[in-house]
Amino acid sequence: MEHIVEIQDLSKDYETGFWKKKKVRALDGLSLRVEPGQIFGFLGGNGAGKTTTIKILMGLLFPTSGTARILGRDIGDTSMHREIGYCPENPYFYDYLTADELINYFGEIFGLDSARRKERSAELLTKVGLAEKDWNKQLRKYSKGMLQRVGLAQSLINDPKIVFLDEPMSGLDPVGRREIRELIAELRSSGTTVFMSTHILSDVEALCERVAILRRGKLAATGRLEDLLANSEQQAFEINVSGISAAALRPFAASSNAELFEKPTGISLQVNSETEIDAALKAVRGSGGKLLSVQPVGRSLEELFVEKTGTA
Amino acid sequence: MSKTVQADRSRVRLSGLVLAVALLIGSFAVYFLSNAAGASRTPVPESAIDDDLSLEGKRLKGFVFGAEGLIADVYWMQSLQYLGDKFVNAPPDQVISLDDLRPLNPRLLYPYLDNATDLDPGFMAAYSYGATVLPAIDPATAIKFTEKGIASNPENFRLYQYLGFIYWKLHRYDEAAAAYERGSEQPGAPPFMKAMAAFMASNAGSRETARAMYRQMSDSGDQQTRLNAEYRLNELDAEEQVEAINARLSDYQKKNGSCVRSLKDIVPALGAVKLAGGAQFQQTAAGEIVDPKLAPYVLDSAACSVHSTSFPKTGANK
């Protein structure tokens, strides 16, 4: 099996209105492939169709047209669900159960015996960072962040080959976010493929090898994250200097179309290509400035995101 | 700063107090207003007092989710309550005989029982109660009601017994005999049905027949019927005893020219009397002669006769 997820021409129309049915296209001819063993980032603004796609993959929604396969099996085949995991966006579970009971319940659905369930429940709840004192509290008393952790724990109960995480970081505080980030990285290193939707770009940069960006239900871009970022115009560099005034560098900046910023620590000069670095350094030295640093300024993911999703 | 916090707190406390007081006053007001409103309701005309029976049982049948039995029970309880209330609310000076309940105007009794038995045609206690009480209100409805029971439960000999009883009370002995005859043909009918049919033909008006009648009633039917039958049996005993005492009183008067001064004077004579079933007169420790309810018989020296305070009918017979 080459691709762990294969999406082919997937479209989904929602009908709205009661009398006059209007069709709203939430997903429009999406085709996508995910290779095993990686963390795949599924990006897009609100309403771009990320959750719709994942719900179709999970069999919660039925596509208007198109097909999709997970682990080589059609998404209509429920038996494939033995080997996948899913944590919905803002997950919500039976609030009359405790976290431990919920994990046990799902464990039973997978046919785990009670000793194994007990073991697995403790293991998973520890893994997602839930304090042991909360394990036997009813979920109605859980905060959003705690529910998010329970959601992650239940998605891993069957030790899945691929896990689908819909906005796994929402509702978490910065510490929690870092913990979950580590957990996701750990999943990859243990061989689990992670398909995660998010709009938190720092998580994508920290975790994802490949991404797909959705825009209004259509695929705007897909590929390796590095490629997508490099692929854009030429690489820019930032040169930080001190000991001179901005005025001294202005002639150079004007001639090479570089940008000049004043910073508390000195001057920052941004050139548009590698070849211009030498000329810039010459100009700095010529006016008696002291070089602090030279660093590449990647076109940020944010810029890419804004460009591809057209949100700005 | 802390002053405003304190002010806020005392305001909260004050509003809580105001609320508590308002609730207290309100509760009192509700209590008094409710009583006042209840007392000053426009009275319903006398004729409409019993008018709250707005549903006919037979129309409910099939439309009470299979709870026909329960609704029948409700009508049954109402029928008991209804007559009970009539007794309790009767003017204290009104004398009510079990043989004629018409002064109470219990006009809804039949509809209640009719509804109960429409909903549950096998409701034997209702038929038994109806057969006991309805003849004292309207014999025609009593017969109709019991015939309805027979139509629904043609194999139940008890209903024929009730019908025979009603006819017997009305002194319609031929019809009573026919009812007993029909009843005796039903499966499981005891021999006394046949015997009663024979009594009706030969000896219908006798005390023996009456005794047999009530004895059988007392071991059938509902509690109400049983109590009534037991009362009747005691009444029959009292009647017999009053007759025996009066006979001895007139013997004494004939012999001595005057009435006895005390009933104790005829105790030896009474000792020789054989009552029905070989029973004897009952006496208290003080030697007073008492009726079946253990109340002493009262001597009326002027008429030189006795009557029982427990059974007013025994005196009225004279």
Partner: protein, 265 residues
């Protein structure tokens, strides 16, 4: 460990049913038993006075009809929420990403509530039994339990109706529809007789159709008979049980047909 799990179709239904039962218990649905027991105790003590010695039949009538009434409330109001509450609260999302089909879920939830009703009905039956023994009606117990069984069957049908409506309608409307079916189901045989007695051919056809389409709930009425200590013959019990199973199977198939096509937005 990955594929060490061995389950079949019924295991998952059983697990879901068990959880639905647990939900009912945690939602304190069985608390209605307390009210029932109080009602029955009061009845056993006071009815003797009010009914002039007819307390045996009255306790049977009161107890059995209360079992139906309480049970119908649970069947309707819990039944319509069985599935729709899970959709509304989004608890279905995680379930259906597990190896659970829509039909397993539906049947499991249905059986869970049926189990709840079974426990509820049985405990109430025991309550009636004790009250009867107290007033000396022990000879009617067999009939009473037959009637309790029939009440349970009726509640199972009612639950199936509720779950079917809720598979495509809102809980409030489903409750209303189910209540209508409860009413019509009890009246349909009376209405048909009524139409047969004095209706036109058209009315006969309409009420005849209603009679066969609607659940014939008057079949389950054995409560008045139970008060007389009557017993149905075995063939009647078999026929009514068969009718119940077939009717529920049809309803659940319809519910499953609709539910399996639902999108969970």
């Amino acid at each position: 460990m990955r594929r060490s799990s061995n389950t079949n179709y019924l295991t998952q239904i059983f697990v879901i049913a068990k959880n639905a039962f647990r939900e009912a218990v945690r939602d304190r649905i069985l608390y209605n038993l307390v009210i029932f027991v109080l009602l029955l105790t009061g009845a056993a003590i006071f009815l003797g006075e009010l009914t002039a010695g007819q307390e045996v039949r009255t306790i049977i009538n009161l107890g059995l009809n209360a079992i139906l009434l309480f049970g119908a409330f649970i069947a309707i109001f819990v039944g319509v929420g069985l599935v729709s509450k899970e959709i509304e609260k989004r608890t279905v999302y995680a379930i259906f990403a597990k190896p659970v089909t829509r039909s397993q879920f539906l049947v499991g939830k249905y059986l869970g509530l049926s189990l709840t009703l079974l426990v509820n009905t049985a405990v109430m039956g025991i309550g009636v039994t004790l009250a009867l023994l107290y007033v000396g009606g022990g000879d009617r117990l067999a009939s009473v339990w037959v009637a309790v069984f029939f009440v349970f069957l009726e509640l199972c049908v009612l639950t199936a109706v509720a779950i079917t409506f809720s598979s495509f309608s809102t809980p409030a409307l489903s409750a209303l529809f189910t209540f209508f079916i409860f009413v019509i189901g009890h009246f349909s045989s009376s209405l048909r007789e009524f139409a047969a007695a004095l209706g036109s051919a058209g009315a006969k056809a309409v009420f005849g159709t209603i009679y066969y389409i609607m659940p014939n709930l008057s079949l389950y009425g054995f409560r008045t008979q139970a008060a007389y200590g009557l017993l149905p013959d075995a063939a009647a019990v078999a026929a009514i049980t068969g009718y119940t199973i077939v009717y529920i199977a049809i309803l659940l198939s319809i519910a499953n047909f609709i539910f399996s096509r639902r999108n969970f937005k």
